[in-house]
Amino acid sequence: MIEPLLALEDVRAGYGSAVVLDGVSLALPERGGLAVLGRNGVGKTTLLLTIMGYTRVGRGRILWRGEDITQRPPHRRALAGIGWVAQEREVFPSLSVEENLTVAARGGRWNLAAVYDLFPRLAERRRNLGNQLSGGEQQMLAIARALMTNPALLLLDEPLEGLAPIVVEELAAAIRRMTSEGANAFILVEQHADIALALTQDALVLERGRVIHSGGSAELLADHAALDRLIGLRLAEAS
């Protein structure tokens, strides 16, 4: 059996004494994408924060390349190869676009030239400060900043949320391009289930902190009845 890149074993996690995730297990291969779907407030963001090390894990283990990282602090997980694109983008307002990109950069195939090629708009705004960008540009910067750390696994927390349709298309295209080369694994948390399923191989649906469905993305995308039942999504409405 091939060792998974990331594995969660029966993880219970939350904040303080509040439990948000319970009994979550998953195994992620070295390549490919996993879509994490579910209604609002079911623990999707908490799942990513738990992988990053920002929550309190009460039970279970998190394994990175077979090594137990359950107690490891966030910056050491990042250094080990987990890249995080936060839901609120959280670009550094007092750093320029270029400084945002280089401040935590680590060597690899994603360098300034490569991310500017992926997001030409960032190259135009390289001298601007982080807080002078539009929402879409901030999202591009957050993704590019995580790529600059050359992660083996990229966590994307609702990267398309709250953006204009044309920007959503642009970003989805960039994510497709970034991930189709298959250089790293990624987990995509997304409200736009149709886009997320089209970008990934596997999908996982959360409900009240538990995994209620796990399977192939293509099958789930084709099964409208299951989608409606699992996340209350009617694709006809959404598209």
């Binding site: 990042a78 250094l79 936060a86 750093l95 945002n100 401040v103 935590a104």
Partner: protein, 287 residues
């Protein structure tokens, strides 16, 4: 011929530069890391005693002792930071004040025990005690060197924060600590180094201060007041704010003692009240 006011301005500027060196580290830890370190001037005092001991007991030249004053204060402060302060980064203001004021009292007592309570003067070489006369105004060589050194350090600090990767990491960690950690930045280490640099500058300031304001064990308490005035008038976390405030306060203190001796040392407090009423967040306030 220049009128005597230039001499007063010059002395005030030199005094202001000294206040800046003593306070810039305090401004950074208070404004950026949200930690109230009242023991800041204890590290400055440590730097002063390092210079005194190296010169009087080991015969070191004055300038050779300055890097040692910087390094000693930086190292000891980072020891305190690792052992005590970092445990209180998220504690209440009162806890931080109680811990660090306790360290101040201990440092005063330890200094009195080891070095005695009297002033420790420096035996500076003759050229440092001389002065240049330019258009009828005497400029003390020591104060000229002090001003030049402080200007160089200010420039290095501002450029370092704005243009180096370490500076960018400090700003990133201040902007958003959680995100900085999530990108692999070791925020604890970044803050510890920043803290050590600030304390080192205080140690250097303490060494440079001996010739101008003297050194005895009460230094850690007496100058704490001036440092806090500079930090609050300048604006928390602002290097350029501290710089401006230190100059204004340094000049007004010297001018007050020169022109209005009856008011003497009180003018600096009146200036502080006036500036804070005008700009409650400080000259260049972040928040």
């Amino acid at each position: 011929m220049l009128p005597p006011v230039f001499g007063v301005l010059f002395d005030g500027l030199a005094y202001g530069m000294l206040l800046f060196l003593l306070s810039v580290g305090q401004s950074v830890t208070l404004g950026m890391m949200n930690f109230i370190n009242l023991a800041h001037c204890s590290f400055a005092m440590l730097g002063g005693y390092v210079t005194v001991v190296l010169m009087s007991s080991y015969g070191w030249p004055f300038f050779a002792t300055l890097p040692c004053a910087f390094i000693a204060a930086a190292l000891v402060s980072v020891g305190f930071e690792r052992a005590f302060f970092r445990r209180l980064y998220r504690a209440s203001d009162l806890d931080q004040v109680l811990l660090t004021i306790g360290i101040v009292f201990i440092s005063v007592a330890v200094a009195a025990y080891i070095f005695g309570t009297e002033q420790r003067p420096l035996q500076l070489p003759a050229y440092l005690r001389s002065s240049l006369t330019f258009m009828g105004v005497r400029f003390a060589v020591y104060r000229l060197i002090l001003i030049g050194l402080a200007l160089l350090i200010t420039l290095a600090l501002v450029l370092g924060l704005d243009y180096t990767r370490f500076g960018a990491r400090v700003r990133a960690a201040v902007d958003n600590e959680r995100m900085a950690r999530g990108l692999g930045i070791d925020v604890d280490r970044t803050f510890a180094i920043t803290f050590a640099l600030g304390s080192g500058l205080a140690g250097l300031g303490g060494a440079l201060a001996i010739e101008i304001i003297g050194l005895d064990p009460s230094f850690a308490l007496t100058y704490l007041v001036y440092v806090l005035i500079v930090v609050s008038v300048g604006g928390l976390g602002s290097i350029s704010g501290s710089f401006a405030a230190a100059i204004v306060l340094g000049i007004s203190d010297v001018a007050g003692k020169y022109y209005i001796p009856q008011l003497g040392a009180f003018l600096i407090y009146l200036v502080m009240i006036g500036l804070l009423m005008w700009r409650p967040l400080g000259l260049i306030g972040r928040r």
